[in-house]
């Protein structure tokens, strides 16, 4: 009886799938994909690429200048430059978080184009981030659909950005209060590296999802 019910259920499911597949309209589908792969979205991706590079360059150059000033024992200038670097990260992060939230809505077709891979623990330096990325990688193996994996990736990136920002701001404050101490500078450097890695991952995710943004629009 159990197998009979199971078989009937399977039979109905197959019939439903066949019925749904019969509604396929070739021209409409191809045009949807054409819109998704249009140059307009490629332009948006290029703009974001530039933005990611510019933000990383601002944060990097501020930090490097601060380190050089610190080496010259010009601590006031070091702190000023460190704050500039930190400000670049602080200003950019909310924008990244907004984009990640928007992307979460529009992922299905992009998931078909780009295989979703988990973030790699070895790319990160902060312990908190390594733990979050590790949990994400483990969950990635448990989840079945590309859709769920994509959403997980967005969540991990969001948490990662928040953690990295917290360490950046904390290290900057510590460095401001005790400029001669080495630890906050080291923390800042690791957090900045992780923030840039997260930003590159966010760009890769956007490249995939931008395709569906235009489609939905």
């Amino acid at each position: 009886m159990f197998f009979w019910i199971l078989g009937s259920l399977g039979f109905v499911c197959v019939a439903l799938v066949i019925g749904q597949a019969a509604r396929y309209r070739h021209e409409r589908t191809v045009k949807q994909w054409d819109r998704m792969l249009s140059p307009g979205m490629r332009f948006a991706v290029q703009s974001l690429e530039l933005e990611v590079q510019a933000d990383a360059a601002m944060a990097d150059s501020g930090f490097q200048g601060a380190q050089q000033a610190r080496d010259r024992q010009d601590l006031a200038e070091a702190i000023r430059l460190l704050e500039l670097s930190s400000r670049a990260v602080e200003d950019a992060t909310p924008n990244r978080l907004r984009r990640l939230r928007a992307m979460a809505v529009l992922i299905r077709m992009a998931a078909a184009l780009v295989p979703v891979r988990p973030l790699r623990m070895r790319d990160y330096h902060l312990r908190e981030l390594i733990a979050v990325v590790g949990v994400g990688a483990a969950l990635h193996q448990v989840l079945v659909s590309a859709l769920e994996r994509f959403l997980l990736r967005l969540q991990v990136l969001g948490v990662g950005f928040r953690l990295a920002l917290r360490v950046v701001v904390g290290a900057r404050r510590q460095a401001t209060s005790a400029p001669a101490s080495r630890r906050p500078w080291g923390d800042y450097e690791r957090a900045l590296e992780d923030w840039k890695t997260l930003d590159r991952e966010h760009l890769e995710t956007f490249k995939a999802l931008a395709k569906s943004l235009e489609m939905q629009g």
Partner: protein
């Protein structure tokens, strides 16, 4: 001895298959699904041999027609054809998602599950083998269709023709008929009686699909069509 009508339908089926094969080779459609060409050739060869067996069955000095027009040969050819049909479904599944790496994992999972279930059912189940294999093929086609629906994937016209031909035919004339037969329903016999005509219609559909003009979608660049695997690069 088969009736003249049966002979005529068999002959028409063979001519139809030859037309499909020539159409497939002429348009290079075999490169889109090699196992379907193997399937067509296998059907043509087996049905030609069976047809010769029918024609010469009553010639006293010949023994081979009785072998070719026997249950043993029928079982052998049916098993071979069912296995090639499974191969068609698997190849179709892999090719439909080839341009979309994000779908590979789901497609592989569904195809593997359908293949494993079919193998287990054939090995351990007590139901007749041929309908089980045909049902497995339908499950595979349904898995392919499910991936297409979930990700809104575009399908090449030839793949659509294969799916639109195989799925309804196998659904009605293998799975449904087998279920009705096991339940002792009289409808099964009626379905069985029109099987040959339905198969002829299926071959006609493939012939039409293989010979009709290449499908064009306006306002879409060739680069996008190549990216989607709908045009040759």
């Amino acid at each position: 001895m088969p009736s003249a009508l049966q002979l005529a339908i068999t002959l028409a089926g063979e001519i139809g298959l030859a037309v499909v094969i020539v159409g497939v080779l002429r348009r290079g459609l075999h490169r889109l699904c090699w196992s379907f060409l193997v399937y067509l050739l296998a059907v043509l060869i087996y049905s030609s041999v069976g047809f010769a067996g029918m024609l010469f069955y009553e010639v006293p000095s010949l023994e081979w027609p009785q072998w070719f027009w026997s249950w043993d040969f029928w079982h052998f050819q049916q098993t071979a054809l069912e296995v090639v049909k499974l191969a068609v479904a698997v190849e179709l599944g892999l090719r439909v998602v080839a341009a979309f790496p994000g779908t590979w994992r789901l497609a592989r999972g569904l195809l593997s599950a359908a293949l494993l279930t079919t193998t287990a059912a054939v090995t351990f189940g007590d139901a007749p083998q041929h309908p089980l294999l045909a049902t497995g093929t339908i499950w595979l086609f349904a898995a392919v269709s499910l991936v297409v629906i979930i990700f809104n994937l575009p399908l090449h016209a030839w793949y659509r023709a294969l799916l639109a031909g195989f799925v309804p035919y196998l659904f009605v004339f293998s799975t449904l008929q087998s279920i009705l037969t096991r339940r002792g329903d009289a409808l099964a016999e009626r379905i069985g009686s029109i099987d040959q005509v339905a198969y002829l219609a299926l071959v006609g559909w493939w012939a039409y699909s293989a010979w009709r003009a290449e499908e064009t979608v306006t306002d879409v660049s060739p680069a996008v069509l190549r990216r989607l695997g709908l045009a040759r690069g």
